[in-house]
Every structure is written in C-alpha cells, then in structure tokens.
C-alpha cells in the first residue's frame, strides 16, 4: 500500500521514507522498555541538599541537578538529539516525588511480569531504587493526598466510582506550552524578561516576595535547559572528531552548532526550530511524569523557518522531511513507568503526545500548509504510537488535504484523529471565555483535550463511571456486586411509579458522586501546589511569568478541569430499556428487572429478560428513541459537572474519553439494564456499545450529533470501525472523506477516528460473533455482516485483510 497511486497534492510534497529513518525506526521498535534509576537518584540527592529551601526553589534545583548529571546520548544516525532516560533508547526514569509506594510493591516481581506494559529492571536499578525508598517515605504527593482526603470521599474513591488514576500520583502534562515564544526569544529572552520583572518587584510586598521566589526558580530552570543543550553540543563535537564517515561528521558538526545556539537563542533555521520543539517536549517530560505533554500545532510554529530556508535555498523538502521523521521517532523514545492500576486504565504506554495539523489561523483562514502535508508523510513513514496525531477540519479545509488525511487513516493506525473546528471553537469560547482569535489557535493536547493558547488543563479530573451511577439509582445506592451501600438512598426502585422517579434518582446520585469527585480533585491539586510546582513548564506557559506564579497555583492565563464520563452508552441505553419495557410497554416489572440484574441474568427467565433488554433501542442507530435518552442523560451529567469550579476557580468541562478504563470500571459494575453482563467492559468513549450499532457509520454519526457536543469542551472521541474493503479504491475513499466532512462541518461533530479493522479483529470476530454484529463487509450490490459468513469465507477475508495490511 505504500506506493503512491493518486496524487492528492503536489507530487513534490509526497516523500518516501529514507534508509536512515528506516534504520532508526527499526532501532526504536526493537528496543525494549527498561527502567532507569538515574533521575530518581539525582532528584533524591538534590532534595537532601536543599531541605531548608522553599519548595519552588528545591524543584528548580532538582531539575537542574538531573540535567547537569544525567547520561546523555546521541544515537547513530540521528539529527535531532536529546534522550529521556540513561538506560537505552526506551528507558523510563522514575519520579519518586509523586509516589514510591507502588514501586516498592511492584519492583521485584510485578514490573517484569505483569500483563501489560512490562519493563526490564536490571539488578543495579533495583538496588538503587531500594536505597532511596526510605528517604521518600511520607514525603510524596500520593501519601499526602491520601492523608488529606476526607473519609467519605476516600470511601467513594476506593469503591472506584471514579479514579483520577495517574494524576493522583503524577504531575500535570495537559498544558499548551508556548513553543513560538521560545523559538522567537530563546531562554535568553525569557531570562531577560524575568530579570526585568524581578527588578520591578516591591521588596516589602508579600505577594511580590512570592513572585520573587518563582522568578528565581525560573532563572535556575532556564539556565539548566541551556546548559543541557550545551552538553549535547560538546558531545556532538567530540563524536564528530572521532567520526570517519565524512557525511556523518558534518552532521555531527551541525548538531554541535545547533545545540550550542538553541534553545538559548532565537532559532535561525528549520533544523534549529525542530530541535527547539524537541528540547521543550523532552524537558517538560524530564521535569515531571505528567502525561499527555503535547508539541501542539507544529505545522504552524515551524512554518516561518521552513519557508525562509526554502526560499533562501538552505533546505530541501527531503531534508525537512527527514528532520520531521526524526522528531516523530523521538516522540516514541519517551516512555514512563506507572503502577499496575494505572496501566489498566492506560494500557500500552500511551504517552499521548499530540501533534495537531491543519485547522485555521487566528484570523479564521485555512491554515493548511506544506508542512501539514509533510507531517502526514511522517505519519505514513513512522506509523507508531506517537505522536497522538490529529488534524483539524473546518469548512474551508482543502479537499486534497482531506483526501490525503483519509489515505493516511487507511493505513490503519487509527490516526490522524479528525476534529471539527466548527464546534470546537464555539465550545472553547463557551466554557473558557477566551477571545475568538485565541480559540481559533487551539491544539489538541493528549487524546482529545481542546486547548487554546495559554490554557492549562488540570487533567484528568477522573474517569467517572456513569454506568454505575445509573445502576446505583436503580438499586437505592447499593452496589450490586458487593451489597455495600455506597450511594445515596434514592428510594426502593420497585416502588417507582413513573420513569421520572428513575431520572430523579439518577440526578441525585450523579450530583452526589460528582461532588466527591470534585473534592478528590481539589485535594490532589492542593498537594501539588505544596509539593510539586512545575517550574520549567510554567516558564513556557503564557501567563505564569506575567503573574509571577507557577501553574500549580493558577499561573496560566486560562484553565479548565476535565472529567470523563465512562460508560455513556451503557448508562443511557439502560435508561432507554427501563423506560420502554417497564414504564411504557409494561412488559417487565421493576422487581423482575432487579432480580435479573442481581442474579446476572441467571436462569431461563433471566436470559429472556436479557434478550428483551438487548432488543430495546440502542444509541448508535439514528433511532430517536434511544438518542433522546443519550441527550437527556448527558445533559444530566453536564448540568451537574458544570456547577463546579476547580482549585483555581476555573470551570469543569466534560471530556468523553475512556481509554482502557472501560475494563477496570467494568469489573466493578454489576449487570446493567441495557443487557450487559456483570463485570464485562462498559461502553467506550462516545461510541455506541460494541455491536449495538447496526445501521452503518452514517447512523452512528447522526446519533452522536444529537448530543450537545458544545458541552464537551475538553473533547470527545467517537470510534468508527471500517473494514479495509470499504476504503479500498479512490472513489470509496473520497466518499469516506465526504462523510467525515459532513459529520465535522455540517453536523458539527467534534471528533471522529477510524479503526481500519485488521485481521486480528476479524479473528476475534470469528471467535466472538456476538461482539461484532456490526462489522460489515461490502462489495458492489452486496453486503454481509461478517459474523454471518461461512467460516471459509471469513478466512478468505482475513487473508485478504492481512495481505493488504502493509
């Protein structure tokens, strides 16, 4: 599939992968995740040396210590440099500041043997880490958070109605850091600005004294960043001297020159600009283990440098492509170690470092440029987990660009995900109040979080199991699996006379749990203020230097805290079934339903009831009866969530994204009234329940468009499954692109991403046909549900799919 059959854009912007990139890609793919103790040791040392100093300075000095002493590497072939850990290409540093309790538990056995996200842990690393555990006892974010949590909130959190997961024991990452500024003024410029502000402070003003500490910390981290780059410059010089291959020698000399100049000074050319983008992305991730640190709109930030170099004949498109490919690969070196619980929610090392292309300029013009196309090439070349690659589509997105996007989607990585400006921009303005031009300059951070310039998301404000909230409303607040009372008493469900009573109970439970969720977040955020200011990140976020305040203290210009409803379709479909079967058609009593759910649909009657529930209308079929309930239900969630403000007094916003949390949340959820069995996964993100959508992709899109997506300002994710047969030829691909445009532009959908079904999925469908009722295979004048085909025919289609996979 790699050959270029159709030219959707000028041929000169379609570039094949080079041998250098192939070699490097192979290196990255074949290196195994390994744990590295270097950062942990250095941070511990720094903390010990600074015990009498204010926390913000201690954080800056710890950062400095790491950058000055960590092992640095320049790998063979690479043009963009800067490594994350000191133990090989994919080595994960450790961040003891946020919690060591889990590492103590998992270090010896679990890390190397757990089901997913396993690490190699060398003996030396084990010993190193064990040597520092005693120091951190009682000093970490997680321990402080647990100690401060009110009892009732703790009980609910531990009953797993919601989990903030990683972010209860990790830093912040969801911030739109300001790459253009660093490109333009360098850290030298940032330092000058800070020194200027320092001079203007009033010594006798308490607030100004706080600012002084922040500014002094920024000076430390800025110098540390500059020095870090200089170390790479020295190393490159050293390697260049030894190098016998003339071509590589010159490359190393160039690297030395680049790193001697940036990020200290303003970038002078495209190479330097890409190197700056990488340094920023890397340094933020060395400072904290915050997730979803995102480079943002690289096709915009890098464009002036690209254009100038091209015009002045200093750069060829091939060279630019290679530098971008190098950047793409670099993102895949970043890897973090998390505890077992967190890997269940975030399986497969999702660093979700988002690069966003396309969209509009702050003036509202189409922003697509040559780099947007080159970045699509990079995605085609690299096809790994990172970046989390997204493209913004709006009413003036060029057709050939969208076609090229569709073509890259067809390769089957599920990327780029496609976002619709027509709703994203109004949603951003509605929630955060940023001005229009700033809203138009939004990027995606992480998986789906819409983030305008200067905004920090205190993500994630919890994976919140709404399927269970509905179930608790149908069971008087009693957990169906444990029999424990965890919710409010909202009335014996068998006594409900009208459906409205059900809805009232849902509203009350929802309000109750959201309140505790907000409390839980508040405690975490308080602890982060106290223990883990993010000085380096703050130095490159708009607002912090102006206000003299760290992001943990609300320094960024704008902010928001997202919360993720998990099991949306499960919850809403459950309500639809209850309304229809119990109250409208009276085919079932509440008592019968309760018995069936309590027993997980045991016995013949249980199974009959389950079938009735399964046959009730389901979200995802463009059926107003089911879709109306989804709209009503999501409104209940939005209404309750939007009542709250976060620690900085900023809004809460919905993010309909579940990642892997559908599985652990599913385990804790008994049988539900949509016919789902106990302990099985709840529904994913904003997608219909697996197998429930039977009317094809346009019906799914129509259903989704009935939700007030403007109220999902932090984003939503809608997955569509396609077999490759539907995207095969150019005409089919064009219709696909038009369908996407219709959803994003006309129906004002916020996001859609496409899974091109691979042979593995098809094999799973052979084994579990019940899960794949919606999987459709199409040819002209004929269609079939995959699961209904004979085994041999299924095998044949699997073989075809496999053949086309690469």
């Amino acid at each position: 599939m790699l050959q270029t059959r159709v030219s959707y854009c000028e041929e000169k912007f379609r570039k094949p992968i080079t041998n250098r990139i192939k070699r490097m890609r192979e290196e990255v793919v074949s290196s195994k995740p390994i744990l590295c103790s270097e950062r942990a040791l250095l941070v511990t040392e720094a903390y010990k040396e600074t015990e009498n100093e204010p926390m913000i300075i201690r954080r800056a000095k710890a950062f400095e210590k790491v950058l000055k002493n960590m092992t640095i590497e320049i790998w063979d072939d690479e043009l963009i440099v800067g490594n994350h850990g000191g133990n090989g290409r994919r080595s994960a540093p450790v961040f003891p500041e946020w919690g060591t309790y889990w590492l103590e538990k998992e270090l010896d056995e679990i890390l190397e043997s757990r089901k997913q996200d396993r690490f190699i842990v060398p003996q030396k690393v084990k010993e190193d880490l064990k040597s520092i555990f005693p120091y951190w006892k009682g000093k970490t974010v997680y321990e402080r958070y647990r100690a401060m949590l009110p009892e009732e909130t703790k009980r609910i959190r531990d009953a797993y109605i919601f989990t903030r997961d990683l972010f209860e024991r990790g830093g912040y990452g969801h911030a739109a850091y300001d790459t253009p500024k660093v490109l333009k003024v360098g850290f030298k410029g940032i330092k000058e600005e800070v020194q200027e502000r320092l001079r203007k402070l009033e010594k006798t003003n308490a607030k100004d004294q706080e600012k002084r500490l922040f500014y002094e910390a920024v000076l430390i981290t800025s110098d540390a960043a500059i020095h870090f780059a200089h170390r790479f410059s020295e190393k490159a010089k050293f390697l260049a001297k030894k190098e016998t291959n003339e071509v590589r020698k010159r490359e190393l000399e160039k690297i030395a020159e680049v790193c001697a100049w940036v990020p200290e000074n303003p970038a002078r050319d495209f190479w330097e600009a890409v190197q700056v983008a990488w340094f920023l992305q890397l340094l933020v991730q060395i400072e904290s283990n915050g997730n979803s640190v995102s480079p943002g709109r690289l096709d915009q930030y890098l464009y002036p440098y690209f254009k100038k170099d091209l015009e002045e004949g200093r750069l060829t498109i091939e060279q630019a492509q290679e530098l971008l490919d190098c950047f793409w690969l670099k993102l895949n070196e970043i890897i973090k170690v998390w505890d077992k619980e967190a890997t269940r929610v975030h399986p497969g090392f999702p660093m979700t470092q988002d690069v966003t292309i396309g969209g509009q300029t702050p003036d509202g013009f189409d922003a697509t440029n040559e780099l947007s196309y080159l970045m699509l090439n990079a995605q085609e070349h690299i096809r790994l987990q990172n970046p989390q690659f997204t493209v913004r589509i709006h009413k003036n997105t060029p057709d050939d660009f969208l076609m090229r996007v569709a073509e890259v989607v067809r390769f089957g990585t599920g990327m780029p995900a496609m976002f619709g400006d027509e709703i994203c921009i109004p949603a951003i303005i509605r929630t955060t109040g940023v001005p229009l031009d700033r809203a138009r300059d939004y990027r995606i951070v992480g998986c789906a979080e819409l983030t305008p310039r200067g905004l920090q998301g205190r993500a994630n404000g919890a994976y919140f199991n709404v399927a269970r909230v509905v179930d608790l409303a149908l069971n008087d607040g009693v957990d169906r699996l444990t029999g424990e009372k965890i919710g409010l008493s909202t009335g014996d469900p068998t006594k409900f006379k009208t459906f409205n009573e059900v809805i009232d109970a849902v509203k009350k439970q929802m309000a109750y749990f959201i309140e505790h969720n907000v409390t839980n977040n508040l405690i975490v955020d308080m602890v982060q203020r106290e223990l883990t200011p993010h000085v380096f990140l703050s130095s490159i976020i708009e607002g912090c230097i102006e206000k003299g305040r760290d992001i943990t203290w609300g320094g960024s210009l704008y902010g928001v805290t997202p919360t993720q409803p998990v099991g949306m379709a499960t919850a809403a479909d459950s309500l639809t079934a209850v309304k229809k079967l119990v109250f409208d058609e009276k085919k079932l009593t509440m008592a019968e339903l309760k018995e069936a759910l309590d027993s997980n649909f045991e016995g013949v009657r249980g199974e009959e009831i389950r079938q009735m529930l399964l046959k009730a209308p389901k979200y995802g079929n463009d059926d107003d009866e089911a879709d109306f309930m989804v709209k009503k239900f999501t409104d209940i969630f939005f209404d309750e969530l939007e009542k709250h403000r976060d620690i900085d007094g900023r809004p809460y916003a919905t993010l309909i994204l579940t990642l892997g949390s559908t599985v652990p949340h599913g385990w804790r959820t008994g049988a539900t009234a949509d016919g789902r069995k106990a302990k099985t996964p709840v529904s994913d993100s904003m997608s219909p329940t697996n197998g429930a959508d039977k009317n094809g992709p346009t019906a799914v899109l129509k259903s989704a468009s009935k939700i007030d997506q403007i109220r999902t300002m932090q984003g939503n994710i809608l997955n569509l499954k396609f077999n490759r047969s539907i995207l095969e030829d150019e005409r089919a691909l064009r219709k696909f692109a038009l369908m996407i445009r219709t959803y994003l532009v006309d129906l004002k959908g916020l996001e859609v991403q496409v899974n091109v079904v691979d042979s593995k999925t098809l094999r799973d469908a052979q084994k579990h046909p019940e899960k794949y009722k919606d999987l459709i295979i199409r040819v002209a004048g004929y269609s079939a549900r995959f699961v209904e085909l004979a085994k041999e025919m299924q095998d044949d289609i699997i073989a075809r799919t496999e053949h086309e996979a690469l």
């Binding site: 346009t698 089919a732 369908m739 046909p769 295979i777 025919m793």
Partner: protein
C-alpha cells in the same frame, strides 16, 4: 404529494445506509424482494422469491432448540447438528426468530409502505447533499414490484432526492416506464448478449432487455451498463465486445465490470438451497485489467467494480 403514493406498499428485504458502490455519492439502498431471472451466481439469493423466508445461520446457533419448541407448525427439526426447516410446513410466522437468543434465525422480507421507506432514506439526506448521493433501488429486481418502485421513486423525486435503480430491465415497457421516468440513473445489468445462451443460463431470452435498454436510452435517461464477470459463463471476449458494441450503439458511455465473488455462497445454505457454482474461481485483478484493455477500442469508460 399524493397520499395514495405514500401508502403504497411492497416487500423489501433490506435497507442499507452508507452504500458507496451503487451510484454516485453516499447512498441508501433499498433492496426489493423478488426477481424474474435466475442467475446461478446470484449473490443475494434471499432476494429471488417475492415471499418472506426464514434464514438460519448455523455458525451463530447454539442448538438450544427454543425455536423447535415454539413452532406450532412442527416445521423444525434438529438434523446433524443444525436446525432444519421444512419449508412446506413453515408458515413464516416468525415466532422462532423471536425466541432465538443467538440471532441465528431471521425472517427475510418485510412489507413496508413508501412512507416508511422514505423516512429511513431521509435520515441520511445531509450526507447525500455533500456527496451527490441519494437512493438506489436494487434487489432482487425493482421491476418485479413496478407499482411500488414507481411510487417510491416518484416520492423520492418529489423530495428532491437523486434516484438510481439497479435492474436487469426484464419487464414490459408499460410497467417499466413509470419506474424509469423518476429515475436519474439506470444501472442496467446485461449479462449475456446471445439470447439463446441467455435463456439457457438465466431462464429467459434477452430481447426484451435489449429493447428496453434502447428505449430507455432514447428517452434521454442516463444508463450505465454493468456486466457481472462470471468466468466460463460470460467472460468471453466475444460476449464483452458485443456488449460494448451494443452500448456504443444505443449511446451508453460507461460500462462497469463487476467481478464474480462468492460472498453470497453461505446465504444459500442458510436458505436451505444449493449453490451451483462451486468450482468457479474469483477472477484476478490482472485478468480483469486485461479484459478492460481488450475493450479499450470502444470509446467507453470502463471501470472495474461499481
């Protein structure tokens, strides 16, 4: 619009949204049940009879026998690990389908009104508008229920929808024309040019089809000719050239070659019928391209697939 139009009813066996291979743009296909021809390669055997039928998928069946218990006509038996229906006894009441927990039994066919079909077709209007799509009537054979098809297409035109029909053109002109008059594009299947061979393989001669094709074209309606390429039956260069020549003669500009596939095979089994073309191979891409090459000399657009 006339009310009587909307209340006309017919039997269909499926409606499918996001159809992308049967006419321009994104379309909704309405599959009309019943067909006067009998092509042995038919990929939609459930479309052939105009009456309702029971379809059974062995690979979904758990052999729980709930269907057997509920059937008051005693039409069902378990034979060799599958549920066999005696189609003589079955009244197609659908009870067995309702109790089946595995979705293994289905009734194929449903009587619906024009209004009901229209309400489904309307749902994707926004996608038609962007992509230049609309409705496609397929089957079966839309001309088997000419009054229903005519009413449905008239109603669609009335609503400003683009209309396509996929047909073999085997119907009396008087009944055919009221359907075609509201059709924007006719996808006309011409399988075999030689009439006696046509009769031998498909059961009827083809003069009526060719004559209709000519008249439709003369009326100014756009036609695309579709040839299902069935190795050994109609893929001779002679047959294809004759078709192309005929197309040129009546003013058709485009021909689609639809390669034979066996995706329909398992449906025969589920309907309790026999698939006759066991030994035919699916034509390769190279072979199809070779056929296209051979037809280059006719001034036609030739495309593989729909």
């Amino acid at each position: 619009m006339e009310k009587s139009l909307l209340s006309k009813s017919g039997i269909i066996f499926d409606i499918q949204r996001y159809s992308i291979h049967d006419g321009p743009g994104i379309r909704t296909i309405v599959f009309i049940k019943g067909c006067p021809l009998k092509c042995p390669w038919c990929a939609n055997p459930e479309s052939q009879k105009m009456t309702l039928e029971i379809m059974y998928s062995k690979n979904l069946c758990s052999l729980c026998k709930r269907c057997i218990e509920v059937c008051s006509s005693n039409a069902l038996k378990e034979v060799n690990g599958r549920i066999k229906v005696d189609r003589e006894l079955c009244r197609v009441c659908g009870k067995c389908c309702q109790v089946c927990l595995m979705d293994a039994r289905k009734i194929v066919g449903k009587r619906v009104t024009v209004d009901e079909v229209l309400s489904v077709v309307e749902k994707d209007r926004i996608f038609y508008e962007r992509s230049g799509g609309g409705i496609t009537l397929s089957g079966g054979e839309p001309l088997m229920q000419p009054e229903f098809s005519a009413a449905l297409l008239a109603a669609c035109k009335d609503k400003g929808l683009h209309t396509v029909i996929e047909t073999s053109g085997y119907q009396k002109w008087e009944l055919l024309w009221p359907v075609i008059i509201n059709t924007d594009l006719v996808l006309l299947d011409i399988k075999i040019m030689d009439s006696s061979l046509h009769k031998e393989v498909i059961g009827v001669p083809n003069e009526l089809i060719l004559d209709n094709a000519k008249r439709i074209s003369e009326s100014g309606k756009e036609i695309i000719i579709r040839i299902p390429v069935i190795p050994g039956y109609n893929d001779s260069i002679d047959n294809l050239s004759n078709t192309a020549e005929f197309a040129t003669k009546i003013g058709v500009k485009e021909i689609h070659l639809l390669p034979y596939h066996r995706l329909g095979e398992s449906k025969y089994e589920r309907l309790g019928r026999k698939y006759e073309l066991k030994d035919i191979k699916v034509p390769s891409k190279e072979y199809l391209e070779h056929l296209v090459d051979r037809l280059q000399k006719y001034n036609l657009e030739i495309r593989i697939g729909g």
